[in-house]
């Protein structure tokens, strides 16, 4: 009988705690991905030799295209967005004005970007590759690194 009572008390306690914290504490994790992976260019890309046609057959259509006066940019990009949100609140709105609410969140968007510059003759002129997606999300958010 005592065992049954204990189980009942524990279950009731769990229920009350869950009901109490519902809306008081919440943790949210969101991830959003746009685009397929972009990898570092290999030896098949040679400045002054590789043509626009070869690039398109190797990489497909670019994510973005920019035309400048004497050159064109093909940009291949993958974006990954992360957001962590921890919220603490006391729902007292019903009895006293606005709710007390504390929340902390961190969001970060990382890009893997390959930018290829072509001359007006459509020959590869310059390659720029930036890989950010592999950087750790939380470490990047809390890092106090200053730019030189």
């Amino acid at each position: 009988m005592g065992f049954r009572f204990n189980v009942r008390v524990i279950l009731m306690s769990v229920f009350v705690i869950v009901q109490f914290f519902w809306g008081c504490i919440s943790y949210q994790f969101v991830r959003r991905v746009e685009g397929t992976d972009v990898v570092a260019p290999g030896d098949e890309f040679q400045v002054g030799k590789t043509t626009l046609g070869e690039t398109l057959s190797l990489l497909g259509a670019p994510s973005m295209l920019v035309g400048l006066e004497d050159r064109d940019l093909l940009i291949y990009q993958r974006a990954v967005f992360h957001r962590n949100r921890l919220a603490l609140g006391i729902p007292v709105f019903e009895i006293w004005g606005p709710n007390v609410d504390f929340s902390a969140y961190g969001a970060q968007v990382s890009y893997n970007t390959l930018t290829l510059f072509f001359t007006s003759d459509r020959i590869l002129r310059q390659i720029v590759f930036e890989k950010e997606v592999s950087y750790p999300h939380l470490k990047t958010n809390f890092e106090k690194k200053q730019n030189p």
Partner: protein, 126 residues
Amino acid sequence: MKILRATFIILLVSTVVVGCCAIGKNQAHQPLEADSLDKLVEGKTTATDVCTIFGAPEQVVKLSNGNAYIYTRSVDKGTAVWLLIVSFGNYDKQDDRIVFFFDNENILTHYGVSFNADKASYGFPF
């Protein structure tokens, strides 16, 4: 006593399973027909021909030596899960994209194709 116990169990279960998960899918533009690419001939097909086959481009870019017409179709799939005080969301957006490059006489010189819209997937964010 049985009614009390049943009520308690229903309350407990409903508390745990309320708002469990949701999925959603968005699409922008009609699918691009890959078979239509067979009708194109580099050095011969004009910008007008491309518009006749694929319709109005979503974007036109002025290049240093011509123009580019961009056609895009995107698929966006989202998954959301709520577990008591923890919630997760995952969104995956992928595109089908064709970029046509024209010279100053509006003759097709190159085109690039990426069909990735079907790779958009539901899932967890980790």
